[in-house]
Point group: D2
Chain length 343, copies 4
Amino acid sequence: MVKVGIVGGTGYTGVELLRLLVKHPEVTLTAVTSRADAGVLVSEMFPNLRGHLDLPFKAPDLALLSSCDVVFFATPNGVAMKMVPALLAAGVKVIDLAADFRIKDVALWSEWYGMPHACPELIDEAVYGLPEINRDAIRKARLIANPGCYPTATTLGFLPLIEAGLADADHLIADVKSGVSGAGRKAHVAQLLCEVSESMKAYAVPGHRHQPEISQTLSDQAGKPVGLTFVPHLTPMVRGIHATLYTTVIDRSVDLQALYEQRYAGEHFVDILPAGAHPETRSVKGSNVCRIAIHRPQNSDVVVVLSVIDNLVKGAAGQAIHNMNIMLGLDEAEGIDHVALLP
Amino acid sequence: MVKVGIVGGTGYTGVELLRLLVKHPEVTLTAVTSRADAGVLVSEMFPNLRGHLDLPFKAPDLALLSSCDVVFFATPNGVAMKMVPALLAAGVKVIDLAADFRIKDVALWSEWYGMPHACPELIDEAVYGLPEINRDAIRKARLIANPGCYPTATTLGFLPLIEAGLADADHLIADVKSGVSGAGRKAHVAQLLCEVSESMKAYAVPGHRHQPEISQTLSDQAGKPVGLTFVPHLTPMVRGIHATLYTTVIDRSVDLQALYEQRYAGEHFVDILPAGAHPETRSVKGSNVCRIAIHRPQNSDVVVVLSVIDNLVKGAAGQAIHNMNIMLGLDEAEGIDHVALLP
Amino acid sequence: MVKVGIVGGTGYTGVELLRLLVKHPEVTLTAVTSRADAGVLVSEMFPNLRGHLDLPFKAPDLALLSSCDVVFFATPNGVAMKMVPALLAAGVKVIDLAADFRIKDVALWSEWYGMPHACPELIDEAVYGLPEINRDAIRKARLIANPGCYPTATTLGFLPLIEAGLADADHLIADVKSGVSGAGRKAHVAQLLCEVSESMKAYAVPGHRHQPEISQTLSDQAGKPVGLTFVPHLTPMVRGIHATLYTTVIDRSVDLQALYEQRYAGEHFVDILPAGAHPETRSVKGSNVCRIAIHRPQNSDVVVVLSVIDNLVKGAAGQAIHNMNIMLGLDEAEGIDHVALLP
Amino acid sequence: MVKVGIVGGTGYTGVELLRLLVKHPEVTLTAVTSRADAGVLVSEMFPNLRGHLDLPFKAPDLALLSSCDVVFFATPNGVAMKMVPALLAAGVKVIDLAADFRIKDVALWSEWYGMPHACPELIDEAVYGLPEINRDAIRKARLIANPGCYPTATTLGFLPLIEAGLADADHLIADVKSGVSGAGRKAHVAQLLCEVSESMKAYAVPGHRHQPEISQTLSDQAGKPVGLTFVPHLTPMVRGIHATLYTTVIDRSVDLQALYEQRYAGEHFVDILPAGAHPETRSVKGSNVCRIAIHRPQNSDVVVVLSVIDNLVKGAAGQAIHNMNIMLGLDEAEGIDHVALLP
């Protein structure tokens, strides 16, 4: 059995890791930490776990975490980077669900995240944990930078076009809609039910932290810098991301449906829908799947890609466990092959 | 492996049975029927099943269903009773999620359901599938009448008080709130999002079919007829039932918390919360658990019991599979021990 | 024109007062105060007011407020009582939408609200602003205690039965469901969309501040203390209260439908539905109406009254303006006779 | 007083017309028709109108409607065109909220709407009722084609750029999100709460009827055919449209904020937000306003315009009454200058 620790178990990403890991057949949960709630039973804060988990939150103690085989960080940005060097030194594998190790350019990272980096020497080693691109590197990694939710849906949607050099990579548009759980479990007026239900809005149009993350990955795959306009929207629902992606295709004769099906043929967690389909976010609620459909309306040169995920699963906790499974040589789908809850 | 058939797989109860059964380690799905949609892939109607189930809907053919070990009916009321005699004769065990076999008084049944009964001779044999009351009978049953959603939450909430003779059984009040999925997947204006979201209403106050069902069970346990006022409400959410139950307690000195904890001590799927707690329906979303809290406000003689379930799981598909597990001698929790999806 | 001031304009009650008052034909808004947001344009915080209101928030200055004819307090409990004596002395009429003057027994008030009262000498003078009971007193009042949202829906629902002496007043049960806006616009995790949408729960079953408020009014009308069990529930919607009220009727021969219709015959803002109806909260969304239906299921002695309001209008801002209209001798419906927004 | 008739009063557009017109100071409602519900009180179907409207639905009789000054059609596509010639001949002014007269190219209309046109000779005369473009023509019109909801939000958002020749009009992208009320009040499984709440999806990506409507208007203003990719999305809320519009700007030096502010300077119902803002659909719920913000992220050449309306008001009933006011020489804002309901 794999001994697993979770640092920062009181947010939505944390409770989702717990939901999945308490049922993972190869995992023993050793520690769930929260400085503020140490001593409280985890299942008191999250009653869905009653009968499944008997641990209390503990203070995030290095000795405790060093006894784990794998530690997940479900913490705010800037926390993991302070503890990761010691954990790696202790032989622990680390998967960071925050953004500390996602951006390779440390100056760019500091600009977007507003702080100096605590261990820049580890950034190069960290593997960006998108299995559909980096499976081999993940297998050998000690430190995983788990992708953001918007980047997961957007990158998987654009990827086959970019890899094939078929998109006008100077003008990529990602219009992406997220459920409110993406904003986390924090006491903010802006996420009260009465502020966000029965309403729709774009936010952070001048600039959002996930823009450089997506650009970095797509530029790497394109072999040159891409031009990406990224507009996130807050949608009145709990879970789900719907990315609507636009680009101009360079060659209209290519069978895009076949291109996507072939690119993701071996992937357990990417599902290309039949031609003409429209994925719904509810079709992935609680599951680790990314569902994608490809359109070229009215036979024009504009490609419209529709890509949906559950932001807390494929966009966070599920993908993190997928990475763990790969790192440990387990069956990739172990513990995360759930059917979405519908309705 | 147990060969399972589902008659009527196109409603919410049907897709929930499928979500659970495709992952049940002892089950092989042999047939999913729908007269109207025969030939259509099940996963085309319910894309959450893509990658998990490859069957098409088939016409509800007796020969096909007779090859199963167990057949679930997730059909409108009045369908199962026409096919059950032949299936039982073929040695198939049957679990009816509709109401055909729930009421023992056939005249009363006809009055509430508006039709004559097609096989009254089987009503006595049918076992009311509430495991917490009828476990032994379920174990030997050929035919299970799976309880309704409102009756499950309400009956489990009142049960310890009634069994102990502690309630004023002439004046039981059940104020029960249900998510909209309880109304089924039918093309009715009344269940459009624009009709029921952002609103709350009571309905069927003059009389609801679940009133005689609850009364029958509680009267059986009380050993005399109970007086029950049952008021269902439509709540703007997809899943969940919250029953708020009121009665006058005859003896204020009894420790009700202890009474409930002892009554359900061995039950895997009933969870008595600590004194003072308030269960949320989301704590059971997608899970087979009934969570209950008991209050006696301001030390008066009025008891308030709060009881929550997921209407599609403990109130329908999950309880049906629980019954199957018991009938077949499997581990009771096999395939239905999911953690609720929160948030 | 009436010069109106609002103290505490940054909550949901405040913005609702503003929505109604900017269109009230007899009102000039003179001041909207907020200590924390002084200087900010009101319409910057509440963009629905762009084009309708050009005032900035101001600090709650006594001189400024003394220049008003009427001042509304839309503040947390305990604020109004500190400013009211000076405003009354300055000849200003005051309507407090919080609870400072609702409870006549000052010791009981302090017990429930956890603080000493700042001006107990004014409590007797304050008129409980439920026009359907206290119209004459309101007409002459200087100081109005505007009723709470739960008390408005519950009291109006029970009132005809209590006044007529027809209810078993020792065992009144009020099962009341509220939208989330009732919890206010505060940065609490418990009211995040991801915590309260798609879920239902009771809360404060051991005791809620509105219980003594309702009991006081009903006891006054009954001429003796009533026994009330009050259970509030949080419902996944923004606005609306649905009170489901239960009592045993002493005389089954009385025509309750006629009783209610006669009691509220002259009332502009109470609408008795036809026999057999079920009011929906959405039928009063944004309007000042209370809709009521009366049932006696299966001809038993249990009466079920269904009573719905918009908690922010008839349960707060609309009723406050109704009180102002009465105090000033205006048409009672002036400025608050809106049609509910449906859907 | 203006005598007004409404044909087809049982849908969401119909009830919204009624909500606004019963309070319009210059209007007397003379007839509300519904073939299927003739004889039923309008307020029985829509209880929000109780106390405001006493009419029953009547059969859509020509004589009855000919006695009106203005008739609104809130009917399915294809109904108005059969009755309009007779009404115009009788001297009645007509405002069609459906699509019968929106498309000038009758062959194109037939292609998208799947039927021959019943009175092609009137198409040229009909005025497209977007006041911000066609105010003068509306003033003199007998027949108004009231714009669709998506076209209103999209056209107003692109208009200043197109008129100024500043956009790359070959590659306009409109990613538009609509609440569910846009789909109407029909008994379809696809719009049940359990099908569309807690989910997001694009639909009709291969082609939607509003694409040619928007293209027609923008092409007219551009003086040449535009290339428009239009992707509608179904959003889990009742009301609201959020259009997110993308184009490449030809000249980066132009002050777009000033351009938009000047273009709409005199318009009562278009509100340009300050630079950097993000409009929310809830800020226009129940109001006739279109709120717009303009962004050029990271100083690139991609313009992002955010445009929000209430689909039932500015996108349907409110705009129709705005047109009526203009046609009759009334104050343009009469009866439709409501403050949005927030929260």
